[in-house]
Subunit: 446 residues, 2 copies
């Protein structure tokens, strides 16, 4: 692949070129739109995309530059937004006919932050039905007969196919990591409470976490600098404190070579044989800076605790959709909601009470290790578009609210990407990116 | 009553006298213990009280003063602690035989704060069974055949009877305001999240709120200065910010005469006739600085929302007590837990979702009014010791997590105290105390 077209520039490089006057915002937007015209009939990443509206934003940003206005760190960078994030200037339909034609009055908190940083809000990317399992129209950019993963299907595919350099997603189980792994891009879901969720479809207050897709770690860090931070309208964002210099930390060398924990997880037997082989090789390649760490068998129960919380909270979040439109829900979502309605408050609270215990357990692991290395999924993207694949390799980390990153370091025999999941201690997100960059360099992927 | 005995000194006055060297900590503790010997056979306020241990603490504090050590704001002041707050040097039995002989290894966060401020931890005061409804042994100090209210029965009675000037309590429904009203003392429950609950029996994470009993507003403010503040071990304490100067704010004059909202609440028909008359008189006496404010009828449903949350969370909090010792629980508590176990996660979450709506509604009221004036209970303390009376006049304010103060301003025909409840905007606790002092002065009670 020759990186000569502007649409393949990283967000950081594009921003630098725009600030330096080497390219205009309009040229960059036009290059991305040209790529959309070229590949999106096949990829189908977009739920809403109005090229004229994207170009108008880009031209307005060029005007501001000419006027000498201060330029934000994402000035002129087109960003894709999963179609569960409210946008004041575009519909937000949440992947369900029940919300067709929905036009929010106000941007989600993070969309407003992106605009303030100068981004071009390119369009809305395809989500699965209400950010759950039933797939949207998107196909894997590496092979149209394979799933792109979900629920943030369009965001992962749009970044992978070079239609944008950045896109927003969300994860309640494996909805950032899995599509990033299947599409072969970086996907990062920071610590629970780091990115405010105001204006984003709520599926599960306890589990919903926002994230970002990019093609470089530097871009992940650049996006995090804009997205992470307290917002009183999301009561679960972490208390205000000094802004984290993601970009600076992520791009510096670790003071000491990091030590990684290779975690097979109690569901290792669910991985495909080539995944097991690939991980053994990666571990061997990482040499003395990695050790195997065996999680207690009880963490297998995390799948059940997660399901109890997610389904109980889905039943509450989607009560109107269920009570007024259950015939328009997919069978699988209806079944999930109906299971959720039968969960007792005691079962729900018992599952919730596991989370702080789980967090405490991992805190000990991170006294020795800098990051956990573990599969992002059972294997490469499954063939077929009727399912987005299983999130089970993400569940434990999502439940504990830990920062998780998919690294596109490997490939399956079918040529499709095979993801490496990198998990860090809660709150140590920037250092996790630094460690990831160290690993990428070490294995020759950066 | 002649206030010549040291035990009747306010905490603020006692602290000043000790710091000035006019009295010793030991003299004050001895005066309080003498009062215990005089009246506690009848009042029965204490679950645990070792006079020697209290005197030993007082003597140690006298030593520290002699050594010239810096003296805390409560240096030498005896404080009663509800027997659901952990104490490292005394048993904590939670008002149930199931926890008999329980000896925590560590002080509750607020007990540690009191010790750091120089307080003498006098002993543990009687709580109802697990801070719920089934009464302990305490009697109303004004009349031994009347209930002292609950669940913080011993703390309210000990302060009312002059055995201590300060005591800690907790409120999940009406457990600070009601006993304060029935015993005729100030009882203050600050904003939810203001006082950390680490080391206190959990009944309901959503509703449990800590508070304090005193005989003057100044003492309430003095205690709050020690008790209020962030603690990371209680995930619901409000984010760290500048320490609130309670004492300074509470004792200054309001910049403008406050405007009060007289709120009958949708359950006004449950008050006794003399309560209605007394409130009409108080309102007339307050003149043009009070207006009637009619709450929407929907707030009547708050009783049901509160019950759903409280019983669902009790079922989870007391799961071990129920599963291993249900035959040792009172019939009423067992019935509550059993109702709680039948609540679905959906019903529970639906009730929880009402709280932010309720808070938003009250925020508008406080744009015009400085405080709400409303009954603390249906009337004076009911006759009989088999019940602690109804908390229903506290439920709405507890559910919304608003600061609430009982003011001992009135009396029933039977000579028993009749409480006035004063409720403020969330977070405006110190100003609520200032407004309360203004009212107390205006009606000649201070």
């Amino acid at each position: 692949m020759q990186v000569t077209q502007l649409n393949w520039l990283s967000a950081a490089d594009a921003g630098r070129a725009i600030r330096a006057g080497a390219i205009s915002c309009e040229e960059l937007a036009e290059a991305c739109l040209a790529r959309v015209r070229e590949v999106d009939d096949q990829v189908q990443a977009w739920a809403f995309l109005d090229p004229e509206h994207a170009l108008a934003q880009a031209r307005a940003l060029d005007e501001r530059r000419k006027e000498g206005a201060p330029l934000g760190p994402l000035h002129g960078v087109p960003v894709g937004i999963k179609d569960i994030f409210d946008t004041a200037d575009m519909p937000t339909e949440d992947g369900t006919v029940l919300h067709a034609g929905r036009t929010p009055a106000e941007d989600a908190a993070v969309v407003a932050r992106l605009r303030a940083a100068g981004a071009v809000i390119m369009g809305k990317t395809v989500t699965t039905e209400l950010a759950t399992y039933a797939p949207g129209k998107t196909r894997n950019p590496h092979h149209p007969e394979h799933t792109p993963g979900g629920s943030s299907s369009g965001s992962a595919a749009a970044v992978a196919a070079g239609m944008v350099s950045l896109a927003l997603g969300s994860q309640t189980n494996g909805s950032v990591i899995r599509p990033a792994a299947f599409c072969g891009v970086y996907g990062f879901k920071p610590t629970h409470g780091f990115i405010p969720r105001h204006g984003v479809l709520r599926q599960s207050r306890t589990l919903d976490q926002l994230g970002v897709f990019a093609r470089t770690i530097e871009d992940v860090a650049l996006a995090c600098e804009q997205l992470v931070g307290y917002d009183e309208r999301d009561p679960d964002t972490l208390p205000p404190r000094a802004r984290i210099p993601f970009l600076q930390i992520a791009t510096e060398e670790p003071p000491l070579p990091p030590l990684l924990a290779f975690v097979r997880t109690p569901i290792w037997d669910r991985t495909e044989p080539e995944t097991r082989e690939a991980f053994e090789e990666l571990v061997a390649h990482t040499g003395d800076r990695i050790e195997e760490f065996v999680l207690p068998d009880s963490t297998r129960d995390a799948l059940e605790w997660h399901r109890t919380i997610m389904e109980a909270e889905m039943a509450a979040s989607y009560v109107v959709e269920y009570e007024k439109g259950r015939d328009k829900l997919s069978d699988s979502l209806r079944a999930q909601i109906e299971r959720g309605r039968r969960i007792t408050a005691l079962e729900y609270q018992t599952a919730l009470a596991r989370i702080p215990q789980l967090i405490e357990g991992f805190a000990r692991l991170f006294e020795r290790y800098d990051a956990i290395l573990t599969p992002a999924a059972a294997g490469t993207a499954p063939r077929g578009l009727e399912s987005t694949g299983s999130p089970m390799f993400c569940t434990l980390w999502t439940l504990a609210g830990m920062p998780a990153l998919n690294m596109p370091l490997m490939q399956g025999a079918n040529g499709l990407p095979l993801g490496v999941q990198f998990v860090g201690a809660r709150g140590n997100d920037a250092r996790l990116l630094r460690t990831a960059r160290w690993l990428a360099t070490r294995v020759g992927a950066s």
